[in-house]
Amino acid sequence: MMDSSLPVLAGMPSFSLTDVARLRLEAISFFLMVMLLAAWGVQRIWNALAKDFPRLPRMSYGRAVAGIVLWGFVFVLVLTMISGARELMTPGAWEKQGATYKLKDRP
């Protein structure tokens, strides 16, 4: 492919993110947005129930976010425990492939 319309650049070189970093940040941004929206959903459900159950305190959005962050940590912790248990139950059966693991081929 021939390109004769070279852009004109001047000054010192700049440093920008690589595609890999951009894709990762996009994914992180998306999951954070999902968590923030889910916090809004949790707050709505909680406060709807609080009308019928006076013992439940009203929940602010900040507390809902704090609650889902706590739940998120617990979820990740459980998943980590599951992966540990998997290794205990099937030692050596999994091999690292890139950023994740796959079952080793049978000998």
């Binding site: 994914a27 959903g41 979820f75």
Partner: protein, 266 residues
Amino acid sequence: MKGRPISIIVIVLLLVLFVGILGSAWMLEVPAYLLLGWVIYPFRIVPMVRVNVAAVGVFVIALPIATWMLHRFCAWLWTGSGQASTWRWKWSIAGMAGVMLMFVIGVAATGVVHQTGWLITSPKPLVTSSRPAVNRIKCGSSLRHIGLAIRNYAKNHSGYQPATFADVVDAVIAYEESADCFVCPASDHDRAPGTQPADWRVALLESDAYSSYAFAVPGTLAPDGRAVLLYDRTIDYHQNGINLLLADGEVVFLDNPAAETWLAKQ
């Protein structure tokens, strides 16, 4: 208090300007992608998602059954604990919606943790420099200068273009009064040593080490059919292609793999 938001905006703008001057665009990109990346992400991911119709079917059937079972269980527990009122469907649906949300939150939290982990431990570079692009432009500019010198040569030689590399060297040294433009900044070539044009001429003709560009045998054509005068000796300068100086003075960039194929024929 009114002046506070304005001063915050001014500070942020100054910071943006400062970071921009430093050439560290990535410092601005990180918060920008964190703030707005969620808009782009679904457009990239959704087309790649494969819908498992059977799994969706199981979910659609299981959800109302599970909600009904939850409702029956809660109603039994509610009545059994001596409550006078009845357990409402609204509460069961809210409970089931809460479970769904908890699952979504868990998946999202796992996504954040894993993506952050991969980002931090990535063996690939996270930041790239624009220097290769700048070098490519400078290289093209050097070739354009050589092209001007060659046009000047042709004007003084009844329209005939240089037939040998020595003619090119003479044309450039006479026109530019320097041999600097024979060196592509992305290459490891040195400028021709010496202080006099005669020194540069001898150096350029004796060794390839002082010219990043090879002389194209007259009749050599670019992929688009135009005559080539000089070209980058190797794709190693820019990694993604080579610059060609055409007989009409234009410089074109030939991308890989076309560049590799073209160079192999020379």
